[in-house]
Amino acid sequence: MSEGNKIVRMANQIATFFHSQPASEGPNGVATHINKFWEPRMRRQLFDLVDNHGGEGLDSLVLEAVPLIRRPPPAEVPPAQAAAPAAP
């Protein structure tokens, strides 16, 4: 299974739980959960899916939650690359 799919599966699993909760809690519940437990790299992958791939495969509740999910800062440029931007 590719890593992108894993993110989809994890997000959808969370959504599945909140589908059974009172409707008012849904998007907020999903977003809070992801904000609390997902490392920026994982959230970045999620946003990449939403921004660049139309959120393919994501549960509707995840999509509803997206505006509430904290956008992580862009990935840190490792010092090595920052020092020598031309290096391969």
Partner: protein
């Protein structure tokens, strides 16, 4: 340093609140009603001679040594079986008593060998002591007549004599020294609950016998050692005492195996450990133990233990021994290089649930303050993280709600997804004791565990559910309780949010949650489920104990919430005898979670995004902390495979063996550039390591462990670390090499830092623990003596929260290719991945992991008992030998994962709990077929393991 004194009061304490005053030898003494005269005397400081009484078991009154005279009563009653009464005037020493006692002792000694000088119990023998106490000076009877002492009498074989039984690896039974006091028999029944021993024969011919005249090893005996401890003579004796001699000093410490956290006296001679004896004042174990803590410590001096640091460039190279300095410098420069090249977040670490709180605290501190990220996780991820999440949501804290003593007050127990007699043996014994006193039991487990039916115990209900359907079953229990009006309205109105309850109640009341509906996919008969629900709701104090069979599912967190709902709905929270009790696996799983081992939480379960909490640590540590959650173990491995995670420091965990989907774990590890493993042995993870730092055992360091009931127990150093340093020192030196200015000189200073930063530990210090023995957190100004029971006057979060728990079938489904469900578990004699217990004589009870399969499934596949079978899932395949049993239901197979060659986790998949990523160990769709030997993976892996354990200049390690 002397031996830690322990007083034997002769009979157990009475719980009565009514007090009685009497006079013993002119001393007035007041004791609870129901106390024996023997115990009352001892409390007054007068030791009445005794042989058959000891305070771990009920009095029996057979030796007639403890007689006393009571004014106004005839005869000479036995003080161990005679209860106190108001105004009694008792004399423990009179001319008549003296004569009787001498006579009794004379008879005992006439059938007892007189080899005291060479006897292993010399100096620790109650028969000797009593002979001294009663003034026995000569014995008029010889050995010529009937005796048990001599192999031959008058030149003929003596039929009464029996040879020693040395079959148990840890203790011997020498019938010639037995005085038939039956203390061992009672200990086995009352304390351990195994009923392995009987007194066979009658009168003079009687003697102790395991089972039906078997050897100990072949009998039902589980080698807990309770009988050995109870025996007043050398009849039952630890082999280590026979070998070494009597100890000269002892130190109280804590078992490093399971989450029960038993207290032991480490009895020493110099730096040599003579034996471990469970400590009666230990508040988790109350003087009992299991085979692991009592006997299985030999791994600490096993020849495979690695004592020098080692490095290698590539994992295909042999190891090279280096100095500590070289090792630290290498790790520091590698980690810094990796961060320079791949970014600050490209490294992380894993704390150990086997190490102390202090060590765990340091590792997470190193990662947060030194690595500058929050990529720290712990093996609790793979066991009880759903407990933290689920209970946190429902009650406001991840804490289990009770102490172990609470079980003594329970009336109905639900045990779900746990096998305490194997995985938490001492708690299992305490539970069994309560069940024998009449408490009722409901077992929810795919497998017929020992508790379902064992001597003098029978579960009222066993609900053998299909693996993966916990949520459906627990919700169905709630359905019955709600629809039949059995909930505790007063409790709910007072303690919980009523409108949330109403919402939840209407949810569970939906007909689709009824047992009749769920039966189709849970496999649990509706009638039994209804009966169980009614019993739990109406049977008095109801408690729920659960284990990994609950948490290690894709719906682990949801099941924990469902359990919390059930406890709240029936009003079973906030007093002794009730509650929600997670049975945590490893010795310090609780502590490692408390100490901030999770990537999103600082010590004390405070979220990393909380500015005020970060501020406390930032000020103290003088660094800026990252406010984003870090990677969890499975995420680290994913990131490694993706190429953004390159280095890891693993203290005392063997993730390759203990984590699911071995191939994914090994791919992740193989993708890293610097894997640092700190452990006692070259474990499986070390096959992928570049640096190995030798670890130390719990005998070699000071610290604390926190057990499953939140009890903070001291671990005390009794010997110098064989590897030179305690684990906390190694972490500190590594931190220094990375430029951190750490200067702890003793673990107590680390605990002081924990107390200063973490409100639930505010009052904890080594001095305080020395004074009070142990405490259960929260331990602060509000609860100076700790908190044995949580949520007494209200929930930590305010109102208890009812949460809807919808059953969602796991994606791991059986089908034509993989028609069976595999579930996994543990057995008594082995511990977790077995790295320690496999290096002790415990292997005698469990040489290999076996696959349990129902006779029906076996027959369909042409598999016979003991055959090699291939076990395959979509993740991989392995082989092991079959054990045909109807303990498992048709369609379900079961195995343990204690041996690396089995590689059961090659089979398990990367599915995990929705909330916490706790892996779904307990359900894997598999197929089984006959096989004639190890799988390709096993062969390849063995070869890899062999190659990667080579050490330059040394013979290959054996394993």
């Amino acid at each position: 340093m002397p031996l830690v004194p322990e007083i034997d009061y002769g009979t157990p304490a009475s719980r009565s609140e009514k007090m009685v005053t009497l006079t013993i030898d002119g001393n007035e003494i007041t004791v609870p009603e129901g106390t024996s005269i023997m115990r009352a005397s001892m409390e007054a400081g007068i030791q009445v001679p005794k042989l058959c009484a000891t305070d771990m078991v009920d009095a029996f009154g057979s030796c007639r040594l403890c007689l006393v005279e009571i004014e106004g009563r005839n005869g000479t009653p036995a003080s161990c079986t005679t209860p106190v009464a108001p105004g009694l005037v008792v004399h423990t020493q009179t001319g008549r008593l003296k004569d009787i006692r001498k006579g009794v002792m004379e008879l005992y000694i006439s059938d007892h060998p007189l080899d005291c000088l060479t006897c292993a119990a010399n100096g620790d023998c109650e028969l000797q002591d009593m002979a001294g106490a009663v003034g026995l000076r000569d014995v008029r009877y010889g050995y010529e007549g009937d005796n048990h002492v001599k192999a031959r009498s008058n030149g003929e074989a003596n039929a009464r004599w029996m040879p020693k039984d040395e079959s148990n690896p840890y203790f011997t039974y020498d019938p010639s020294k037995c005085i038939v006091c039956s203390r061992c028999v009672r200990a086995c029944e009352e304390v351990q609950g195994t009923f392995a021993l009987t007194i066979e024969g009658r009168g003079f011919d009687s003697r102790v016998s395991p089972g039906m005249h078997e050897h100990f090893l072949e009998s039902e005996c589980v080698s807990c050692g309770a009988c050995v401890q109870a025996c007043p003579t050398a009849t039952l004796t630890e082999k280590s005492v026979i070998e070494i001699g009597q100890p000269e000093h002892s130190v109280v410490t804590t078992c490093a195996y399971c989450g029960v956290g038993c207290s032991f006296k480490a009895e020493m001679r110099g730096e040599e450990l003579v034996r471990m004896v469970p400590w009666k004042d230990g508040q988790a174990n109350r003087g009992h133990s299991c085979v692991k803590g009592r006997f299985a410590y030999g791994y600490s001096s096993h020849r495979e233990r690695i004592l020098n640091p080692m490095i290698r460039e590539k994992i295909s190279d042999p190891w090279r021994e280096v100095t500590w300095e070289e090792a630290y410098a290498h790790v520091a420069s590698e980690f810094r290089r990796i961060q320079y090249q791949y970014g600050r977040d490209s490294i992380g670490g894993i704390t150990s649930s086997r190490c102390t709180n202090e060590e765990t605290f340091l590792v997470q501190k190193l990662i947060r303050a030194g690595f500058g990220n929050n990529n720290v996780d712990t093996c609790a991820r793979v066991c009880h993280s759903p407990t933290g999440y689920g209970l946190g949501q429902a009650f406001g804290t991840s804490a289990g709600t009770q102490n172990f003593d609470s079980v003594e007050f329970t009336d109905v127990v639900i045990v779900i997804g746990a096998n305490p007699t194997d995985a938490h043996p001492v708690f299992g014994s305490r539970l069994k004791k309560r069940l024998r006193q009449g408490a009722k039991l409901i077992v929810i487990d795919p497998r017929r565990t020992e508790l379902v039916s064992s001597p003098h115990i029978k579960a009222s209900y066993h609900l053998p559910l299909k693996p993966g359907t916990n949520v459906a079953v627990v919700t169905a229990l709630a359905h019955v309780i709600v629809t039949e009006g059995l909930f505790d309205e007063a409790f709910i109105r007072e303690r919980c949010d009523w409108s949330e309850f109403e919402d939840w109640a209407s949810f569970v009341a939906e007909p689709r949650h009824s047992p009749e509906e769920t039966e189709a996919f849970t496999g649990v008969p509706a009638e039994a489920l209804r009966g169980a629900a009614r019993l739990f709701a109406t049977g008095g104090n109801g408690s729920i104990y659960y284990g990994l069979g609950v948490t290690e599912h894709s719906q682990g967190s949801t099941t924990v919430m469902a359990i919390a709902n059930l406890a709240m709905a029936t009003g079973n929270i906030g007093r002794p005898g009730v509650g929600v009790n997670p049975l945590r696996g490893q010795n310090n799983v609780q502590g490692s979670c408390d100490m901030g081992s999770f990537p999103h939480e600082l010590p004390g379960y405070r979220h990393i995004s909380d500015d005020a909490t970060r501020d406390i640590f930032e000020k103290l540590w003088g660094v800026k902390l990252n406010n984003e959650p870090g990677l969890r173990i499975p995420n680290m491995l994913d990131a490694a495979v993706e190429g953004t995670f390159k280095g890891i420091y693993i203290q005392g965990e063997d993730i390759l063996q203990s984590d699911p989907d071995t191939k994914h774990v090994s791919a992740g590890l193989a993708a890293m550039e610097c894997v640092v493993v700190q452990d006692l042995f070259l474990n499986e993870t070390a096959n992928y390591a570049h640096v190995f730092l030798p670890g130390s055992t719990f005998l070699e360091k000071d610290g604390t462990f926190t057990n499953a009931e939140r009890r903070i127990n001291r671990v005390r150093r009794v010997m110098t670390p064989k590897n030179g340093y305690a684990d906390w020192e190694v972490t500190q030196n590594l931190a220094k090499a990375m430029g951190l200015d750490w200067n702890y000189t003793h673990p107590s200073e680390i605990m002081d830092e924990i107390a200063a930063t973490t409100p639930s530990f505010a009052m904890v210090s080594y001095d305080y623990l020395d004074k009070v023995g142990s405490v259960q957190w929260p331990c602060n100004e509000k609860n100076p003596l700790g908190s044995p029971i949580m949520h007494i006057n209200g929930f930590v979060r305010g109102k208890g929260k009812f949460i809807r728990t919808e059953y969602v079938a796991t994606d791991e489904k059986t089908g034509a290719r993989f028609p069976l469900l595999l579930t996994t578990g543990r057995i008594l004699s082995q511990y977790n991945v077995g790295a320690q217990t496999r290096r002790t004589d415990n292997v005698i009870w469990h040489e290999e992991d076996r696959l349990e399969i129902h006779p029906h499934d076996a027959e369909n596949r042409g598999i016979r008992e003991g055959d090699w079978v291939r076990l395959s899932s979509r993740a991989g395949e392995t082989t092991l030998r079959a054990l045909i049993t109807d303990r498992v239901a048709p369609g379900v197979v079961y195995t343990t994962f204690h041996h690396p060659t089995t590689q059961a986790n090659v089979i398990t998949t990367d599915f995990s709990d929705w909330a916490t990523n706790c892996p779904e160990y307990k359900v894997t769709a598999v197929q089984i077929s006959p096989s004639n030997g190890p799988s390709d993976w096993q062969v390849e892996y063995d070869e890899l393991a062999r190659r990667s354990r080579r050490i330059k200049g040394k013979l290959e390690a054996a394993e």
